[in-house]
Symmetry: C2
Subunit: 243 residues, 2 copies
DNA sequence: ACCTGAACACCGTTCAAGT
DNA sequence: ACCTGAACACCGTTCAAGT
């Protein structure tokens, strides 16, 4: 993986030259000038707007009024760029203030919720997260903050790591599912509620298959149900690890 | 997503013509003849062997000694083919025998473990699972069996669905992480243990970042640790939902 | 130091045509 | 009913060359 194109993948974060040497003259040069941050920011914007499928190095270059090959002066390939873009959106996650007196479980839930929010806001980032090592500076910062939260729990040092992994694996799976349905709804031009109903109807036509997970569970909107389900399973997990 | 190429995605399973009409003459025709099942089986084999990045319609056609365009007689595009391939590997999952007298939690753990096993065995399927609706016949069969297992629990009908989703979202996240590290290890030609150690060493060079989740936790092998972590968090979740 | 043009080796897919 | 050839509209990336 990681390196759809590369056969011997290396994370950007593991390249020997830690990053392209930033040029000294970072004065207020012409606003049209290229630099790494601008490329990454534009990439994120395009990925959000057009989706990963429509995103290409060529499109990005055009958006920056530059030749595709210019980009390769700043990033070594598309995979590296995506890995950089991913870390950059991880940096958007709103970290809860660490308050020594507050309940660490509240902070953990806040971290999980913030992460879910960011992932769902950038569907392409979910796929990237599943493909790349996530060891960029922003990612490490997020992990560190999470560990600080867990450190206030009564769990053993080792259990803190296991618990943290479990929580974020759950959140990742949840966000992935959530995003998938949102995207399908968006692309078919219907609300999620409508789309789910349509799929449920279509699927119920198959003999032997009951609606199952697609069944309408109440009169609440999907969004409300999703929020509630997210919190409930998170509570189960936290309750279980403390039992 | 779903439809990297298509802008108005529809699952294979939602196409109005439910499947291409199977030809009546399914006699023992020449072994070299094309058909849908053979195409799907070959696709799965190639995806496993070469990885999704190397897999292409053209490669698949070559493997089948046929022109790329022949494939489009049987599947309408690459996305549909991947969706079919995904459902086909879901069909490989070894479902636990439903035993009315056995503990349903044991069956649930068996389902989760079997699913994890299948996902990790087919890394490309993980990405597909995150991208497509998973409503093919095999997928529905798996879901149905899962619901039968949950039906033996003391949970309310609605909680059964919430719990099932949570469990499989966790397993999906776990398998995604697991597969990612396995793939990186494989591609760099090292064991996972070696690769993790290498990354941990590299990352620890960054100021302010402690090893964190990459820290070596014991003398056990990664495989043993992964298995234990997987079971523990699953137990937490199950314990939590019953509390 | 930074950017470009031309080219290479690929993609998925359409469409008209063959048998 | 099934398969093909040629073509279209793309990709990411290399490499030598420009300034």
């Amino acid at each position: 993986m990681a390196g759809k194109r590369d056969s011997h993948p290396r994370s950007v974060w593991l390249t020997s030259k830690p990053a392209r040497k930033r040029r000294e003259s970072e004065s207020a040069a012409g606003a049209g000038n290229l630099d790494r941050e601008k490329i990454i920011a534009t990439a994120v914007r395009l990925l959000d707007a057009k989706g990963e499928a429509q995103f290409s190095m060529r499109l990005l270059a055009a958006e920056l009024n530059v030749t595709p090959m210019s980009l390769y002066w700043y990033v070594s390939n598309k995979d590296d760029l995506l890995e950089l873009a991913l870390d950059s959106v991880i940096g958007e996650i709103r970290l809860p203030k660490i308050n020594v007196r507050s309940d660490w479980r509240k902070d953990l839930r806040a971290l999980a919720g913030a992460w879910r929010h960011t992932l769902v806001a950038h569907p392409w980032a979910i796929r990237c997260y599943g493909e790349y090592l996530n060891i960029g500076p922003q990612s490490m910062g997020f992990t560190q903050r999470s560990q600080e939260v867990m450190a206030r729990s009564s769990l053993s040092k080792e259990d803190q790591l296991v618990a943290l992994s479990a929580v974020f694996q759950y959140v990742y799976g949840f966000a992935s599912t959530e995003s998938r349905w949102l995207e399908y709804g968006r692309k078919t031009g219907s609300t999620v509620d409508e789309f789910v109903a349509e799929v449920a109807a279509s699927v119920s036509g198959i003999p032997g298959a009951q609606g199952g997970l697609l069944e309408r569970r109440s009169t609440q909107t999907m969004k409300e149900l999703r929020d509630r389900d997210f919190d409930r399973a998170l509570d189960w997990l936290i309750a279980g690890m403390l039992a």
